[in-house]
Symmetry: C2
Subunit: 199 residues, 2 copies
């Protein structure tokens, strides 16, 4: 057995950085190979294909991001939690120079173009899976933080609404790049759900 000449995790991080900045289709394995100081063929040997590499790099990111969201949604009043949730979401979309947008949304719209392939479906599930997990997380926070009968006892619908708005924010980020606008929409959404005062 010959040992790897590169660190598996390093490559994953370098690859995801590129995927995030330039999109999956806009990133070539040559780019990643150059950046990581690895031969292109070695990437195929270690990860299988470009989409498989993206998938693994994405799972890495998704795990970290989910934990951060969990933390943001876990403390304080319901309004505080939702504010922290939207803040983290928007800050994430606007991170980097230039802002990199939402990798989940981006990947979701980018992949699975053709006719229904095998690996594409796996990637779609990974991306959609994070959205599902976030929705469940928000729903828990709503249920836990709902003192009175807010949401008419339907935290599931409210959580889905909130997550839908965040997906919309990801799209608007890319369309206009107007961060204050995104934050206004977020604040408006919270007010809409909790009322303009308490929470």
């Amino acid at each position: 057995m010959r040992p790897r000449e590169f660190d598996h995790d390093d490559v994953l991080r370098i690859a995801f950085d590129q995927f995030w900045r330039k999109g999956v289709r806009g990133t070539s394995l040559s780019d990643i190979a150059r950046d990581a100081g690895v031969q292109r063929g070695s990437l195929y040997n270690a990860f299988g294909s470009k989409e498989a590499l993206f998938l693994q790099a994405y799972e890495r990111y998704a795990g970290d991001y989910f934990l951060a969201l969990q933390k943001a949604l876990g403390t304080g009043s319901l309004r505080k939690r939702l504010t922290a949730f939207f803040d983290l979401t928007i800050t994430n979309f606007r991170s980097g120079t230039p802002p990199r947008g939402c990798p989940t949304t981006r990947g979701l719209m980018e992949l699975g173009a053709a006719e229904g392939e095998g690996l594409d479906e796996e990637a779609r599930q990974a991306l959609a899976g994070l959205i599902s997990r976030i929705t469940a997380l928000v729903q828990d926070a709503l249920s836990a933080g709902a003192a009175r009968g807010e949401f008419n006892g339907n935290a599931a619908a409210a959580a889905l609404h909130i997550v839908t708005v965040t997906r919309g924010l990801a799209v608007l980020e890319r369309a206009f790049g107007d961060e204050p606008q995104l934050r206004k929409i977020a604040a408006h959404t919270i007010d809409l759900l909790l009322g303009r005062k308490g929470g």
Copy 2:
């Protein structure tokens, strides 16, 4: 002058059909050329580049779609208008077999991957432009249909919220393909804005 051997508009329609189904990056000019019965080189001669062709094909679509939305938002009570708006939006996302999703959102996330090119920016503006125009349209409908002081006199924020939700619906469509879910979110959004009963 030698005359064209193909119809400019036909090619635009055929091209957009492919772009819509398979995405911009997932569609090759060879595909379009074959489908349209035109030589690939002729497309370059007539439209300049793949993105320019997409841009022209998209403008065609956007014009038609905007008119349909205008019609949906122009009649009946405010609730009726919004219901028709969401219905048209979702129906559009779910048209085709398999459902093609939202071409605007898809295009927005797909394009402009690299570093800031020329034509990409033009396409981004075209795609973002439709979103802006739709927002203005919704805002007009809200202002016109608002009998009482709904939205606290802030129809702009409400319109932006609505459009944000539609963009989110486009993403969820692609993530889960669950049309009833989309319609539930839409109904929930309307209730949230107008209250559960009147409108």
